[in-house]
């Protein structure tokens, strides 16, 4: 039997570092991982794992030795005028660094999964800057958590249980009982069901809702039409903002809901600006969730 401890899970971006794996023959037991993590680790022993490279010859794939395959790949890369290297999100940082060096050497274009994922959020960070924190700070301090356009119970399953909501922190000793959870989502997701407040806004109106919250934060009342546009009453917005201003340490986790709907990076930019301004009232941070965010 081979046993490994404290392995980092490569799947969703939470980087859970407490995974334990036991290998007995062709059977693999995974401890601490979620459904997705377990499925990924089981790939080590799965029947469809690609265990050796194949080379296409006259329309047919044949198995090849690694050295032959690497040589063939080098030939293809050197023969390309402008290769595109698209790096997967379940690759280690070290491997990505090598990929970037390779791209530089070849004069290639290097892209990554974030382009089709949280790319717009990253563009929002470039526009506005980001007030952030480590996951540990959120766990120890955060007494208000907002999931905005994210659904961690299905896309980052251990986020609530290991990092943000249920763990007992130094300043949140009673775990979930010392934390308030708000979800902003057009869908009554599983995360929304487990929240203290759910703002069910209309799709594509994140920018308008964020603008209205900023207006309220500036001590002014937004135009009444914002209720019709977003589907959220100004009373609810005021309730949410009051919770945000009165917490000790707030955390927003923005998800694909803002990055993948109308507004795109401008939604993200405005969310980051809102958090910057909230720091005039209390400590507030923002991060992206899940996957490569």
């Amino acid at each position: 039997m081979m046993a490994f401890k404290n392995i980092v899970c490569p799947v969703c971006g939470a980087s859970c570092d407490d995974i334990q794996v036991e290998l007995v023959g062709e059977s693999l037991t995974v401890k601490n991982a979620c459904k997705m993590g377990n499925a990924k680790f089981q790939e080590v022993v799965s029947s469809h794992r690609i265990r050796m490279p194949t080379v296409l010859e006259e329309g047919v794939f044949r198995n090849a030795e690694w050295n032959e395959a690497i040589e063939k790949a080098s030939e293809i890369l050197l023969g390309a005028k402008r290769p595109l290297i698209f790096m997967g999100n379940e690759t280690s940082c070290e491997a990505m660094e090598v990929g970037l060096h390779l791209g530089e050497y070849l004069g290639a274009v290097v892209d990554s999964n974030s382009t089709v994922c949280h790319g717009p959020t990253a563009m929002g960070i470039q526009e506005a800057g980001r007030v952030g924190s480590t996951a540990g700070q959120g766990k120890q301090r955060s007494d208000l958590t907002i999931y905005w356009g994210s659904n961690p119970l299905e896309s980052m399953p251990r986020h609530m249980s290991r990092y943000a909501i249920y763990p007992r922190g130094y300043w949140t000793r009673r775990g979930r009982f010392d934390r308030t959870v708000i979800t902003v989502d057009p869908r009554r997701s599983k995360t929304a069901e487990n929240s203290d407040l759910h703002l069910q806004l209309k799709p594509n109106t994140d920018y308008e809702l964020l603008s209205a919250l900023l207006t309220l934060l500036h001590g002014k009342r937004p135009h009444p039409s914002v209720e019709e546009v977003t589907g959220v009453s100004i009373d609810q917005m005021e309730e949410m903002l009051e919770m945000m201003k009165s917490c000790n340490f707030g955390s927003i986790y923005v998800g694909r809901g803002i990055a993948s709907s109308y507004g795109k990076h401008r939604n993200a930019e405005l969310a980051f600006n809102l958090v910057k301004e909230l720091n005039s009232h209390t400590k507030f941070v923002i991060g992206a969730l899940p996957w490569t965010l």
Binding site: M36, G37, K202, P203, K264
Partner: protein, 132 residues
């Protein structure tokens, strides 16, 4: 009978489990992902269909999936798990960000008797034969 709705796509835990486990070509994956969750009012108005065809609003592309009544979505909205079926109708517009409009795009839904294709069949139909 056809309705224009806003399409929301996103993760489900079993979609993640199956995709990460390399099981995208299985019946389980089709069962989990080839679905369209519709608000109960809209579902009844469509005549409680077993299957619906989801089409882009320019009607160029459409995909048949199983219809599921679900009040987690508001009337006028539908949800599809992120997978190859949803990607047939996700519009390519990226607003110069490189990331498609996975959420909040207008689509048509209508009851249909067409077959729900497997992931492999979707690849062949839309990516090899261009939707024919």
């Amino acid at each position: 009978m056809r309705r224009e709705v806003l399409l929301n796509t996103g993760s489900t835990i079993d979609e993640g489990r199956l995709a990460k486990g390399g099981n995208k070509l299985t019946e389980d994956y089709k069962e989990e992902c080839a679905v369209c969750e519709i608000n109960l009012d809209d579902f009844l108005a469509l005549g409680s269909p077993e299957k619906v065809k989801v089409s882009t609003n320019d009607e160029k592309y459409g995909v048949t999936v199983n219809a599921v009544p679900d009040n987690s979505v508001m009337p006028g909205h539908v949800f599809m798990p992120r997978a190859i079926w949803a990607n047939v109708v996700v519009p390519p517009e990226t607003f110069s960000t490189g990331s498609p409009l996975y959420k909040g795009s207008p689509v048509f839904i209508e009851p249909t008797e067409e077959k729900v294709l497997s992931a492999e069949e979707v690849v062949l139909k839309f990516y090899v034969w261009g939707g024919r």
